[in-house]
């Protein structure tokens, strides 16, 4: 068969699906010698199950998860996709001006106690001598639920994923600091990718050409979305945003997060962040893998 | 006065699966007063149990009225059902206590149980008793409850002769001590003649009163010979109820 199929499982309304739709709409897959099969799923957990069950070739995830899975029977690899990262949002008129102001406030945290954004925030606050873990009232919850709660003034500040933050931004909320901001303040002056494609090492070695074709198609599609309104409008329904401001916020965030360069510097930065995370998150987050394995990143040029 | 008036104009049941009805009782009227003891005799399936249930107010879905001294019946009653109807999860004593109330004297209860031959089974559960023993527990329950009206639906079947004799004697003693009206259903005419002041004979359903016979033998003289003779007379004088004798 001439066109080799690649199966990818992603969130139906996730940002990656915008890229994938564009690849298919513009025939970028055929052009790169593969056939894209998208399996939309309803939760990020579902895609991880799919990967473990060998029911899919590629999923989207972050590198902490990939690092933690290292050593379990199958090794996964990470190819960067986006550097869009979460942020801390507060209401526009909020008195909170800096991280130190979070003391005693009701802080919503999307995800769990091991959420990267939250761990990095804690690390930064600790440098100022504040243990946010004790000093703030934490409310963990599902991202959409928290987004709703802050709009009902039940939260003073909210750490959420970037596309949820973007929706808040569109509603006039203020970004206190983004994750990249925190990372910078922690002394790492490189913008690192957060999200990436994750796949099985064995599969990648067998299907190198198709995989690389897919990765370049992905970049191409992302560029199309940022440069061509026609393509952007085609995937607009997937954003499920009704008002123009939100749509614009989402597009800005998406385009800003494109990876332009991924080299030794970035790998080192990620490794440094990983070490930082280990200090706060501990065994739980990292599992038995104490330092980041540099072989975890898929090296496109080498193959 | 203690006068119970039973007046059932019409009692029917819906028939299985169709809109027809089955009339169980029609124009049945009788009275009893002054702590009378009446027996009811009638063919199987004629409506005796239905009648007792109506009197006990367990079933008020009929045309007519049942009154005590011209008021609707509100007093306590005791009812020996056709089946024992004991609570399986309560012991013999507990079953009786529940019906009698907590304040009643334990000794009088155990005394009655003793007389009915259940002295060893005070703490047994009903499922561990023979059917005849269960019936005796139900009897004891009815005897222990103080009431103005005692209803008994074939209470002495499944008992051997000597136990039945004892039970009959106990019933009469009790009735003399705490006088009350008694309605006693039986198929055994000998028993009826031995016990009753009056016997009501009921017809096949829809049942009405066929005959209302006063027992003329004085209570002291109801020997088996006298009873047999009375029965013989009855057969001759009332041919309408011959089939029930």
């Amino acid at each position: 068969e001439s066109t080799h199929p690649i199966k990818i499982s992603v969130l139906k309304f996730g940002t990656i699906n915008w890229t994938l739709e564009t690849i298919k709409n513009s025939g970028l897959d055929e052009k790169n010698n593969f056939k894209l099969i998208v399996q939309p799923l309803a939760s990020t957990q579902a895609s991880k199950i799919a990967l473990q069950a060998n029911a899919t070739d590629i999923i989207a995830s972050d590198w902490t998860w990939v690092a933690r899975q290292r050593g379990s029977p199958s090794n996964y690899l990470f190819a960067p996709y986006s550097s869009s990262a979460g942020s801390i949002m507060v209401p526009a008129q909020s008195t909170i001006q800096s991280i130190d102001d979070l003391v005693g406030k009701n802080l919503g945290i999307a995800g769990r106690a091991l959420d990267k954004n939250w761990l990095l925030l804690r690390t930064l606050a600790l440098r100022n001598g504040i243990d946010l873990n004790k000093a703030a009232t934490k409310t963990f919850g599902a991202p959409p639920l928290l987004n709703n709660l802050i709009q009902r003034n039940e939260l003073d500040a909210l750490i959420n994923f970037w596309h949820y933050s973007a929706r808040l931004k569109a509603k006039g909320y203020r970004e206190l600091i983004s994750t990249h901001g925190i990372i910078h303040q922690l002394g790492i002056h490189t913008t690192v990718p957060i999200l990436g494609y994750v796949f099985n090492e064995e599969w990648a070695n067998k299907n190198t050409i198709q995989l690389n074709g897919f990765l370049s198609a992905s970049r191409e599609a992302a560029d199309l979305l940022c440069t061509s309104d026609k393509h952007w409008n085609a995937i607009l329904p997937l954003t499920r945003a009704k008002d123009k401001t939100t749509q614009q916020m989402l597009r800005n965030g998406y385009c800003k997060g494109r990876i332009t360069h991924f080299g030794q510097k970035e790998k080192q930065a990620i490794s440094d962040i990983y070490t930082l995370l280990y200090k706060v998150g501990g065994q739980k987050l990292i599992g038995s893998v104490k330092t980041l394995d540099p072989n975890l990143f898929w090296n496109e040029t080498q193959h | 006065m203690n006068r119970l008036t039973v007046n059932i104009k019409n009692k029917y049941f819906p028939k299985d699966g169709c809109d027809e009805i089955f009339t169980a009782i029609k124009d049945l009227y009788f009275e009893l007063s002054n702590n009378e003891f009446i027996c009811i005799v009638g063919p199987s399936g004629c409506g005796k149990t239905t009648l007792l249930n109506a009197i006990a107010k367990l079933d008020d879905d009929f045309d007519g009225s049942i009154t005590m001294d011209n008021e609707s019946l509100n007093e306590n009653i005791s009812y020996v059902f056709q089946t024992p109807r004991l609570l399986p999860w309560r012991t013999v004593l507990e079953n009786i206590h529940l019906a009698v109330g907590e304040d009643s004297a334990l000794s009088s209860i155990t005394d009655i149980l003793q007389q009915l031959g259940l002295g060893d089974n005070l703490h047994s559960y009903p499922h561990h008793l023979s059917l005849g023993m269960q019936r005796r527990v139900a009897l004891a329950r009815a005897f222990c409850v103080p009431s103005k009206l005692l209803l008994m639906d074939e209470p002495f079947v499944s008992l051997d002769q000597s136990t039945a004799r004892k039970a009959r004697q106990l019933l009469l003693d009790l009735w003399e001590q705490q006088s009350r009206n008694v309605i006693f259903v039986t198929h055994d005419l000998n028993e009826a003649i031995e016990l009753a002041d009056r016997i009501l004979f009921l017809s096949e359903s829809p049942s009405t009163v066929l005959d209302d016979i006063k027992i003329s033998i004085p209570r002291g003289e109801r020997t088996s010979d006298n009873i047999a003779e009375f029965k013989q007379q009855l057969k001759v004088s009332n041919p309408a109820i011959q089939h029930l004798i």
């Binding site: 139906k12 799923l41 309803a42 029911a55 991202p143 | -």
Partner: protein
């Protein structure tokens, strides 16, 4: 359904709708839309065909797993309820099965079988089965021994005893398991579809949840409840009436 009972349920539903409307208006939040909005959405989703597609698939999964779980559950429950020794042995297995989080069984099923239909249905059955077993077991422990003795004395044999003596006595337990079971299976199907399927009501509802689109979630829920209500009125209640005729 007779005319009076139709009137009755219309009244009852009407009252419910009014209460809902009042609360929605009082709260005035996007998280509790008014019934009108929900029904509008329901109609829109019906028209574009999405709802029908996902509802159909979910009902398909629900039906298969319901009958599988009920059939196996009644059989196992009956056996455990009648054989004290077997029950003693398997009781702790049952407790374990009953208390494993749905999440764990679902993940294991998917990883075992792959993300396929069989895995989904198997996961649902595994989750529902112990509930049926426990309910039926209580019923089987409380059968009327007198009737079973009668059946033995007259040499009814296994089948006759089962169908004419035992199952009629288990009827209320089976109905309890069926009524709560439909609801439970539906809830499990929602999770199963969220974790590994690309269609079905659970998949849709979780997508809506990510967008915090409560209106659509409610519209889908209402659609499902209508189906269940129809099953209740046209299957379960007539069954009830028929089998309680003797009372």
């Amino acid at each position: 359904m007779s005319r009076s009972s139709f009137l009755n349920s219309s009244l009852s539903l009407g009252l419910l709708l009014i209460i809902w409307q009042l609360i929605a208006v009082m709260l005035d939040t996007s998280s509790l839309p008014t019934p009108i909005l929900v029904f509008d959405t329901l109609l829109a989703e019906l028209n574009n065909g999405e709802l029908v597609h996902h509802l159909g698939i979910t009902l398909y999964r629900l039906t298969i797993s319901f009958f599988l779980a009920m059939f196996l559950g009644v059989a196992i429950g009956l056996i455990l309820g009648r054989h004290e020794k077997l029950n003693l042995f398997f009781d702790s297995w049952l407790i374990i099965l009953l208390n494993i989080p749905a999440l764990v069984t679902i993940i294991l099923c998917y990883i075992w079988f792959g993300l396929i239909e069989t895995a989904a249905i198997f996961a649902v059955v595994i989750n529902k089965l112990p509930n049926v077993v426990v309910t039926i077991r209580e019923g089987a422990r409380n059968l009327d021994e007198e009737l079973i003795e009668m059946a033995n004395a007259y040499r009814f044999g296994r089948n006759k005893t089962l169908f004419h003596v035992i199952l009629p006595q288990l009827y209320p337990y089976i109905m309890a398991a069926a009524r709560t079971g439909l609801a439970l299976i539906w809830k499990i199907v929602l999770v199963v579809e969220m974790l590994g399927r690309s269609d079905g009501m659970g998949y849709q509802i979780h997508l809506f949840f990510q967008l915090f689109d409560i209106t659509s979630i409610l519209a889908y829920t209402v659609a499902f409840i209508i189906i269940i209500q129809l099953i209740e009125v046209f299957i379960l209640q007539p069954l009830d009436n028929r089998s309680q005729r003797w009372k």
